[in-house]
Amino acid sequence: MQCPKCHAPMHTYNRNGVQIEQCSGCRGIFLDYGELEALSRVESQWSQPAPPPPPAPQAYPAPQAPAWGAPHGGGHHGGHYGHKRHKSFGHMLFSS
């Protein structure tokens, strides 16, 4: 196929599953019927927010806890204080 504008040969490329022809001379692009819509559709998929990741696999099943355990703890949610340890608890970890 030749470029309708400058008559240089055109080469076929595959962009995201859509066949497009690009001129080797003027770099112009020729799209077949429906290919513009196909590219737009692909573009809109890229710009959409990524779907939420599947819930992280729980490394540890919630362990058993005693009846008097903290309501949300006994650790079912990883401890009241999460990853930021309270200074007072940091001290307690090392105290008799």
Partner: protein
């Protein structure tokens, strides 16, 4: 505050012991006081540590405990000397220096190593002359101190939780297990790497070591977890490693709480009692962590202790 005459004497002892081990001691840092509390004064001189034990520590009991550490160098840090010496009325022992868990970075806590060491300790036959481990006695002491304080609004739920515990957990009768070797005071400050700085982890502090209920040694992490302070992941790592090492304190599978319940309650009460005494002495309210211990004690009254085959005896 009057100067403690023990400290300079202990510092001199630590220096002498270090120089006896390493005549070419670089003395780069000189002596460092690692602890100076009513129950222990600890001084480091380079690779050597001198510890003055609690005023009520007896040479006979301490010698029996030192002997266990000497014979279990893969579990306990072995002392430099077989018998304690006396200094200003206190018994003193000497130890090689080991690198502790970084208190500023407890996320690096070696939960698996700790659990494996405790499992090995619990599996070791206890020598006949060994006294009982002192965990329940120390908890009872904290509760007695709480009772002696001026009335504190947080004290009643803590005292109620204490009174429903079995007599052995309150140190009023002997523990039902008189053959299992226990540490008696396990927490993250009881681990060092030896040789420093990156040798294997070892347990330190034999002051409370003795025979007793081995679940007591798992009960501080269990209590922290139950109070919502220790994340489930860390508790699970600790418990799973203990079970993987075939420790006898809990059944190999299934619910560990029938075995852990009484010791974890007792240590929650102990820690809450100490926290209230500390807050009262500083004339400040309880912080949220301390309050979570009191809240746990409060919830204990509506759930009677689980009696494991051991604790029911």
């Amino acid at each position: 505050m009057t100067a403690n005459p023990l400290l300079p004497a202990l510092t001199a002892k630590a220096r002498a012991a270090a120089h006896a081990r390493t005549p070419a001691c670089p003395c780069g840092v000189g002596a460092v006081t690692l602890a100076d509390r009513s129950d222990a004064t600890v001084v480091r001189h380079e690779d050597t540590v001198a510890k003055a034990h609690a005023p009520d520590a007896t040479p006979t009991d301490l010698t029996a405990r030192l002997t266990v550490a000497t014979h279990l160098p893969d579990v306990l840090l072995p002392p430099l000397t077989q018998a304690p010496v006396t200094l200003h009325g206190r018994v003193v022992t000497f130890w090689p220096y080991g690198t502790p868990v970084d208190p500023e970075n407890p996320d690096t806590a070696p939960w698996e190593a700790a659990a494996t060491l405790l499992a090995r300790l619990h599996e070791t036959p206890a020598p006949a002359a060994l006294p009982p481990m002192r965990g329940p006695a120390k908890a009872a002491h904290s509760v007695a101190r709480l009772r002696a304080l001026a009335p504190h609004p947080a004290a009643p739920p803590v005292l109620r939780a204490w009174t429903v515990l079995p007599a052995w957990a309150r140190a009023e009768t002997a523990m039902p297990d008189t053959t299992t070797l226990c540490h008696g005071d396990f927490h993250l400050g009881q681990l060092v790497r030896h040789p420093a700085p990156d040798g294997p982890w070892r347990l330190i502090d034999v002051d409370d070591l003795g025979t007793g209920i081995p679940a007591w040694d798992l009960a501080r992490p269990a209590s922290w977890y139950a109070c919502g302070l220790l994340p489930a992941g860390e508790w699970t790592r600790f418990l799973a490693a203990y079970r993987a090492a075939r420790g006898p304190a809990v059944p190999a599978e299934g619910d560990p709480w029938p075995a852990l319940d009484v010791p974890a309650r007792a240590l929650t009460v102990h820690t809450a009692a100490r926290a209230i005494a500390k807050a009262a002495a500083a004339d400040r309210p309880l912080d949220e962590v301390e309050q979570s211990l009191v809240d746990a004690c409060d919830r204990m009254s509506s759930a009677p202790p689980q009696l494991s085959p051991h604790s029911a005896k």
